[in-house]
């Protein structure tokens, strides 16, 4: 089932010309330069050499998304502050019987810091990226990137490595010193693209009915605004006029995707602002995003696909509510958590919703989940840790 283009912005759409793909307007496909440098022996290209799915991206091109044998490039903010995000990504893989690697030989992309403080430079940023890519390559697994900013920044790095000989040489010298090859993956793949590619398979494993759930979607800026050619645009979702990411997953799971006028706006994260100047972040997130969504679409949940967006949209609502008790909050989830819940995941043992701030309990009730019972199960599980019966909970403990 498709989301028709008429769903975009309602009657006002009549005044807008639709964007038409044109080979003349499209930027050069980076693959040409990538394979040229590979042929000259300047770098190694890690190919998608296992089973994959093809997804449509901007300019009418397609992109390979590997299904399994993946190397999960984790996200600082997801693992650190909203751990149910990465846990849900892993849980869905496991539930579908797909093996993956969760590596320790991985650093942050460090781009959050770079966009916040500029206390780095192009060579350092590229070297960090290439070190992580080399680490994935050494395992024979294909990198799949959890963070939207990592994904965006790595696309920028790829462009710079391909375009600037001097930078490429400088980074090669650093990699030589580390004893690592200069490697770029054939495709830059964000985890949400894996969810998009696998959405019908995920829907086949759905055990909870989401047909009464209305969602709004916040597409992450660094996913589709930075180096836009890699982002999924599907003619079946909004006629390919806007990125199909997340919306396609929600729609495949039977939820109603509702539009709102400020969908293009960023969340207000700001990189530096979220940490040391949150007055801006709070104002933007609540006034331009949450309030508009509530007034125009009244969703049960808003879904997004990036670390900063979940954090900003979720955490900013408390202060707005404290300042104005009539401010209506909206729960915020990643589509990975949403998909996991659809497949029967435990809201606390897997999705870790107790790390979230905005009230999600009405959403769980609408999904038919007894959150009080689930919380009791979580407390019983953690009590086993406190009693010393187990040191850690395991994946087996999530099947209650």
């Amino acid at each position: 089932m498709a989301i028709p283009v008429e769903k975009v912005a309602g009657p006002r759409r009549q005044n807008k010309a639709e964007f038409q793909w044109s080979a003349d307007q499209a930027p050069a496909d980076f693959h040409e330069r990538l394979f040229e440098l590979e042929e000259r022996g300047e770098l190694v290209v890690q190919r998608v050499d296992t089973e994959y799915m093809e997804v449509p991206v901007k300019y009418g091109r397609t992109k390979k998304v590997p299904i399994g044998h993946t190397w999960h490039h984790k996200s600082c903010g997801q693992c650190g502050h909203i751990p149910g995000y990465s846990t849900s990504i892993f849980w869905v893989n496991r539930k579908l019987g797909i093996e993956y690697e969760d590596p320790r030989d991985q650093t942050s992309c460090t781009a959050w810091n770079y966009y916040a403080s500029a206390t780095s430079n192009a060579a350092a940023q590229a070297a960090v990226a290439m070190r992580n890519f080399a680490a994935a390559y050494e395992t024979g697994r294909f990198p799949i990137i959890h963070c939207g900013t990592s994904f965006g920044h790595y696309k920028e790095v790829r462009h710079e490595i391909l375009a600037h000989d001097h930078l490429r040489e400088e980074v090669r010298r650093v990699m030589d010193a580390l004893g690592k090859p200069l490697v770029l993956p054939e495709e830059m793949v964000h985890y949400s693209e894996w969810f998009y590619a696998m959405r019908h398979e995920i829907a086949r494993h759905q055990v909870r009915d989401f047909s009464k759930i209305a969602v709004t979607v916040h597409p992450a800026c660094h996913y589709y605004k930075l180096v836009e050619g890699d982002a999924i645009y599907d003619p079946e979702v909004y006629g390919g006029q806007r990125t199909a990411i997340v919306s396609g997953v929600a729609e495949a799971l039977g939820a109603e995707v509702r539009d709102y006028s400020t969908w293009f706006d960023c969340c207000g994260f700001g990189f530096r602002h979220i940490l040391v100047q949150r007055d801006f972040t709070r104002s933007f997130a609540t006034q331009r995003k949450i309030k508009r969504m509530k007034e125009e679409a009244d969703p049960d949940v808003t879904l997004t696909h990036d670390t900063g967006c979940v954090t900003t949209l979720d955490k900013s609502q408390f202060a707005a509510r404290a300042q104005d008790p009539s401010f209506a909050t909206i729960p915020v989830l990643s589509e990975a958590q949403f998909a996991a819940l659809a497949m029967g995941a435990h809201p606390y043992l897997v999705c870790q919703l107790h790390w979230h701030a905005a009230d999600y309990k009405p959403l769980l009730e609408k999904m038919g989940i007894d959150h009080e019972k689930c919380w009791a199960e979580f407390e019983e599980a953690t009590a086993r840790l406190e009693r010393g019966e187990q040191q850690y909970l395991t994946w087996e403990d999530t099947d209650v």
């Binding site: 600082c76 903010g77 320790r104 942050s108 060579a123 600037h164 107790h354 953690t382 840790l385 850690y392």
Partner: protein, 245 residues
């Protein structure tokens, strides 16, 4: 950087006023030198193609809604090579940018957010006071990312650090160790880093900071932080048998 004794007047609607700082005026040649550093960045030419003055970037910009800030002025000043205005923007405007890159909607193909990234690097490299001011309170994050390899950690979730995030932060803080042990992935049981990073990986990261000059950049911004980072990195590199050039 040499400065004259003439502080630039700071207006109540300027970003510098909001940051609570003033900045020194400097000779024109110094402003030219700073602009020269911007232009020398290999990315600069990719980020600027002129300006239609259509304002699409401003309409898309979140910071323009809440600050006296305009990505169009950034692109215009760079295109006109107006070194006086560029210097002013480097002191007053660049830290307002959200770095979301919504301004890439530019029909001319400009990247005002990218120009600002380059301007910020120049500001940090030259130890501009406005950069120090903008990053006040942020340096602990620089320490975290450069020394541990992850940007934020679970133990940062303290109620007094995020009072505006509501009571969930205090609950997480109170139960942190227990709730981290309740996470199924083996890599997630950490509290001081986002995930468990191997020592070999950290060594390689430190070598990157050294070899690319990223660590040296910190010295201009915050000498104390630089000393601390240098000590932490050298200790680990020594332990692992690495000698720096």
């Amino acid at each position: 950087m040499s400065a004259t004794a003439h502080p630039t007047p700071v207006h109540s609607d300027s970003a510098a006023y909001k940051l609570g700082t003033t900045y020194p005026d400097v000779p024109y040649a110094e402003k030219e030198r700073l602009f020269g550093e911007m232009k020398a960045d290999e990315r600069f030419a990719d980020y600027l193609y002129g300006c239609y003055e259509c304002g699409i970037c401003v309409a898309a910009c979140p910071s323009a809604r809440y600050y006296d800030f305009s990505p169009r002025r950034i692109a215009q000043a760079a295109a006109r090579e107006d070194v006086e205005l560029i210097y002013q923007q480097m002191q007053e405007d660049i830290w307002d940018c959200s770095q979301c890159f919504s301004c890439l909607r530019c029909p001319r193909g400009n990247n005002p957010g990218g120009i600002i990234t380059v301007m910020r690097e120049v500001a940090v490299n030259n130890g501009l006071d406005s950069a120090r001011q903008a990053l006040r309170g942020y340096t602990r994050i620089i320490y975290k990312i450069m020394s541990t390899g992850t940007q934020v950690s679970p133990d940062m979730l303290q109620a007094d650090a995020f009072p505006d995030w509501g009571p969930s932060v205090a609950k997480v803080s109170e139960k942190l160790d227990l709730w981290r042990r309740a996470l199924p992935p083996d890599t997630h049981h950490t509290t001081t880093t986002g995930w468990e990073i191997s020592t070999k990986t950290l060594v390689e990261l430190y070598l990157i900071w050294h070899k690319t000059g990223a660590l040296a950049m910190i010295e201009e911004l915050d000498p104390s932080l630089h000393s601390l980072l240098e000590e932490v990195m050298e200790d680990l590199l020594d332990e692992e048998g690495y000698e720096l050039d």
